[in-house]
Structures are given as structure tokens and as C-alpha cells.
């Protein structure tokens, strides 16, 4: 089937576009960040009132619409759902709390690494630890169950909602909250953000790009396909950062980052574990939701509500570090996700058999 060329290209394109977006106005080392941008959208919708992080990020809108169009065009749009939607919502919520303790999703983690931010290396170790723990659960039979085909209309709801938000945003931007200072106030021109999102959406849909999946498949199956996308992303962002003078090796004074190693590690452990149980990183969830997977759409809602919870209850990190409440939330999150995963295995309904064995030749 397809080789690694296209996914390498997708990674390279995402890395280059992320640097371009940063130069054009997006926050430092945050040309692209699915978790941060969903958090900004949560703020734009008024779900939280953290003034510095409110903006209806057009990159997310473009990504969803690009992936949706690509899935339609290639006849890969399949509407399914019904596999533990509420469990996914809760997992998504805690995954977001983990990301906001670290300050970024695997995409931004890679961009931060490519800018010399060594705190992201600590986050990477935490992410790999979380992925490893998740694999143990999957090997022991963890499953969120089987999704079933649903009416095609259901698959249009998520991309439709996103398109509706875009129309409102273009027609009446004052409807949405928007930061006047802080990361939310830093943004590239709308047309560029939207176009970049569209391109990445199409490429991510075609290649199934998933950054958590990259580590998962590498550890689980010694499969290098998905990690190739992450390598491309890192390489393009590294070259871009060197070209624009944004490479500063070290722990201290990194933009929109903190140096609290324990919580960088544990935040990403929580997020990595939850993401593996959910079947992919936030980028992959957004793309799957755009391809008609309504369970993934519920997961995205969990991310958005998780961001609101993180900011409304003072859990999210800032460059000063992770507040005590945020540290507690990460520990509680790890306990909840581990407990939930164990409970899912213990209480699994046997359901229909997945494998039928015969002896005919």
C-alpha cells in the first residue's frame, strides 16, 4: 500500500506551516497546538473566562473541514458511534488536564523540542511512559467496545457545527470572546490560519497522522510508519526555527512553558495514557471526528470541557509552574484513568466474538 513518503511529507508540511504561522503571529513555539487551540476555542465560546487564552482558532476549523472534504472525496467517510461515548468524554477531559499541566499536546511538544526547549524532553519521557502503561492495559484486554454504523446525518453534525462557527466568526466576530493580551491575542491572519489548517487536515486524513500512535506502534509492533510523521514534523520545525532564529537550547525562559519537571512528566504521562486508551492524540481525534466517527467527536467535546474545567478551577499551568490544585488534578486524573481502565477490563461484556476460527483450507 502506501509507503512512508506521504506521511513524511505530511509531517514536514505541518512543521513548516507551524513555523510560518508562528512568524505570522501565532504564539512562540505554538504555531500549531491542538490542545492549546481547543482551549482557546473553549475560551472564545465563553466556557472559561481566562482572558489570555480566548480565540476561535481558524486552524482547528480548517483542519476539520479539510479532513471532512478529504474523507468525502476518497469515500472514506463512514458514520459510526456507540462505543463508550461517555467514557471517552471523561478520558478526553482528563487528557486535556494533563496537556494543560505540561502546556501542549504532542504536536506542540515536538515544536517545543525543535526550538530547543528541554522541558519538552521531560514531557516526551512522560508521554512515552503513559503510552507504555496504556499498552499494558490494551494487552490485558482493555477496549472501549465496538462502534456500530449510524445514520449518515450524524456524521455531518460535527463538521457542520464547526462550519457554522466559522460562518459566525467571519460574519460577527464580536460574538466570541477574544484575548487582548497573552497567547490568545497572538495569532496569524485568519486566511493563513484557515488555509494551513485545511492543508494539514487533508494530509492528516490521508496519512492517519497520529503522534501518540507513533510511539504506540513503535513500542507495540516495532512499526515506524506513524513515527515517520513525527520525525518529519520535528525536522522541518528544527530547520525553520534555526532559520528564523528561534532555537534556544535550555530549560529556563522558554516561551509559554515552565520548568517544573515532575509535573511536565506526570502531566504528559496522564495525557499519553489517556490518549492510547482513546486510540489516538487530539489531532487524530479531530480527524476521526471529521471522518464520521461520532465517538471521536464526543472525545473532542471532552477536550473542550476539560480545558474549561482546567481554567475555571485554576488547574492549568502557567509559565510560573503548575498550581497546587493542578498538581492534585493530575494525580486524581491518573487515579481515575487507571481505575477506569482496570474497571473496563474487569467488567467487560463478552459481547460478540471478534475472531472465528476454522480448519478448511
Amino acid at each position: 500500500m502506501r509507503g512512508k513518503g506521504l506521511i513524511l511529507l505530511a509531517g514536514l508540511a505541518a512543521g513548516a506551516l507551524a513555523i510560518w504561522l508562528m512568524v505570522a503571529g501565532n504564539p512562540p513555539n505554538m504555531g500549531l497546538c491542538i490542545a492549546c487551540f481547543l482551549r482557546d476555542i473553549s475560551g472564545a465560546l465563553g466556557l472559561h473566562t481566562a482572558q489570555p487564552v480566548q480565540y476561535l482558532r481558524p486552524e482547528i476549523v480548517g483542519l476539520v473541514l479539510g479532513a471532512f472534504a478529504s474523507a468525502l472525496a476518497t469515500r472514506e467517510f463512514r458514520v459510526t458511534g456507540g462505543a463508550s461515548a461517555l467514557t471517552r468524554f471523561v478520558l478526553g477531559l482528563f487528557v486535556m488536564i494533563g496537556f494543560l499541566a505540561f502546556l501542549g499536546c504532542p504536536l506542540r511538544m515536538t515544536l517545543r523540542l525543535a526550538a530547543g526547549d528541554l522541558n519538552a524532553l521531560v514531557g516526551l519521557c512522560g508521554l512515552v511512559a503513559g503510552v507504555g502503561i496504556g499498552i499494558i492495559f490494551i494487552n490485558r484486554g482493555f477496549s472501549l467496545g465496538r462502534a456500530v454504523p449510524q445514520a449518515r446525518a450524524g456524521g455531518y453534525v460535527f463538521p457542520g457545527l464547526v462550519a457554522f462557527l466559522l460562518v459566525l466568526f467571519l460574519a460577527a466576530p464580536a460574538l466570541f470572546a477574544a484575548s487582548t493580551q497573552g497567547p490568545g491575542a497572538a495569532h496569524a491572519p485568519v486566511a493563513l490560519s484557515l488555509a494551513a489548517g485545511l492543508i494539514i487536515g487533508v494530509l492528516a486524513q490521508r496519512t492517519r497522522l497520529c503522534l501518540v500512535g507513533g510511539f504506540r506502534d513503535l513500542i507495540f509492533f516495532r512499526d515506524y510508519y506513524l513515527i515517520t510523521g513525527l520525525i518529519g514534523l520535528f525536522a522541518a520545525a528544527l530547520v525553520g526555527n534555526l532559520l528564523v532564529g528561534n532555537f534556544h537550547l535550555g530549560f529556563a525562559d522558554q516561551p509559554v512553558a515552565h520548568t517544573d519537571g515532575i509535573w511536565n512528566f506526570l502531566g504528559m504521562t496522564l495525557a499519553g495514557l489517556g490518549s492510547v486508551l482513546l486510540g489516538g492524540c487530539p489531532l487524530r481525534q479531530l480527524v476521526a471526528a471529521s471522518e464520521g466517527n461520532t465517538d471521536a467527536a464526543v472525545t473532542v467535546l471532552g477536550f473542550i470541557v476539560g480545558a474549561a474545567v482546567a481554567h475555571n478551577f485554576g488547574l492549568a499551568a502557567s509559565p510560573k509552574g503548575v498550581p497546587a490544585a493542578g498538581q492534585l488534578a493530575v494525580v486524581v486524573g491518573l487515579a481515575v484513568v487507571l481505575g477506569l481502565a482496570a474497571l473496563v477490563i474487569a467488567t467487560r461484556t463478552t459481547g460478540e466474538r471478534s475472531v472465528v476460527r476454522g480448519s478448511s483450507g
Partner: protein, 71 residues
């Protein structure tokens, strides 16, 4: 030996995991895998080819049937 893996509705990495178990158990023969997501179709194909199985893919309505064979 022959087996059918029904991976419809399962998210990654479950389709790959179920298929791998069968490929390792059978060692050779024929395994049919039914999937309904393009990501699962591609991932199972990659796994099977990596383990030395021949793969043919057929679209059947809303699902894909993958036939994996090894002599």
C-alpha cells in the same frame, strides 16, 4: 488453517492487535479481516505485509474485506 477477524467498529490499535494474534497463531494459511475504517484497513495491511503475508483488499458496501494469505 483459516480464520476470520471481525474488526468492524474497533479503534486503533485493536484491529491490528487481533489480526496479529491470528497471524502468529496460524503462521500460514488464510485470514480474512473485516474492517470499516480506512485507518484500520491501512494499518492491518501494513502489519500483514510486514509479517510476510500477501494482502488483497476488497470494498464491500461500507466495509473492507482484507484477505491475508501465506503459504
Amino acid at each position: 488453517m483459516e480464520a476470520v477477524v471481525d474488526a468492524r467498529g474497533l479503534m486503533c490499535p485493536e484491529p491490528v492487535l487481533l489480526t496479529r494474534r491470528e497471524l502468529q497463531r496460524l503462521k500460514k494459511g488464510k485470514v480474512r479481516v473485516i474492517v470499516d475504517a480506512a485507518a484500520a484497513r491501512d494499518n492491518v495491511t501494513r502489519l500483514a505485509q510486514h509479517e510476510g503475508w500477501r494482502v488483497s483488499v476488497r470494498e464491500e458496501g461500507n466495509t473492507w474485506l482484507l484477505i491475508l494469505e501465506k503459504d
